[in-house]
Symmetry: C2
Subunit: 195 residues, 2 copies
């Protein structure tokens, strides 16, 4: 019998693919093991357990998503950058629903593992960089970043949950939302309810 020669990454990738196919909550140690042609107990040499696997999938997805966004927004500024950023985000969520869900699930991730992942930090930089063209200063910048991320995530989450049952296509509303966010950023309101 030749040995499978697995690594933690391969297990993670198998889990991520399974998550995209059948949903994150249906990713099971046994299923992943079967997929890899291995007994489930064997996975524990590479991964601490199901929790840990989920965390790894989340980190993998965060990295991948960040990379897609970085590629999509490279060299762009202003509205072009905003649209490219948002579309890359949404496209990743569509293409990899299971992975995307993993990024959103509040999981405790092994700290020493998270330290290695450059995804999150990179993502923050990217978002701030995208907003550079709009001339915002702190703390408005942070507020704007949070608003954008909220809208992007909320939209794709509702989309995935079937929250847009209406006739109008989500795509049209999406384009419109980006238009709206762009003009909003251009005329970022002065602190109205200055509490």
């Amino acid at each position: 019998m030749a040995r499978a020669g697995l690594t933690a990454e391969q297990v993670t990738i198998a889990g991520a693919e399974l998550a995209d196919q059948v949903g994150l909550d249906r990713v099971t140690m046994s299923q992943v093991a079967r997929q890899l042609g291995v007994k489930d107990a064997s996975l524990y040499s590479h991964v601490r357990g199901l929790e840990d696997l989920r965390g790894r999938i989340a980190l993998l997805a965060a990295d991948e998503k960040t990379i897609r966004i970085a590629e999509a927004t490279a060299g762009l500024a202003g509205k072009d950058a905003l649209v490219a950023f948002a579309n890359a985000w949404r496209e990743y969520a569509h293409r990899h629903p299971g992975r995307y869900t993993a990024t959103q699930t509040p999981i405790e991730i092994d700290p020493e593992l998270a330290a290695k992942a450059l995804g999150p930090r990179r993502a923050v930089e990217l978002t701030y960089g995208m907003l550079r063209g709009y001339g915002l200063a702190e703390p408005d910048l942070t507020d704007a970043v949070r608003l954008l991320r909220s809208t992007f995530h909320g939209f794709v989450a509702l989309e995935a949950a079937g929250g847009f049952a209406h006739r109008r296509s989500p795509q049209q509303s999406w384009v419109r939302a980006l238009d709206a966010l762009h003009t909003l950023l251009e005329h970022w309101p002065p602190s109205v309810g200055d509490s």
Copy 2:
């Protein structure tokens, strides 16, 4: 032995409370049964199974959330209505994280059960009603509703997932986001990328 005298609603409520305490994914038939002082097999007289229970929790939560929002926005208009709507939404998510998660999870719900639930329809009406003051017409209205719902949901979801690790308090960003959305609705942009 006196009989427990359960109903589907009581099982659902027990499940919902458990979800708020330990997280939706940790809601198990056995746990709910233990909580109710009953063997797990007994629950299947009231609920089809775990899937079904989750669906019922989701519908319950949707109803509750809608009611809170309706109470909060009663008699209000314009920005007051917007802020009250959004705060009621966020507050419900904070108070009932498990229930709220259930509303977001893409679950297939028993159609005949969903037909009874007035939550979703009511919620749609409420949202459209809240926007009445801004003088938008279709299809802008639908786009605006989707944008708002996306932002609200996205914000609380990221908040729950620990996505706002920054120094600035989420509360401040939230207030700011509502200001921004308000001015956005007042100056809803003409269709820019009219594709």
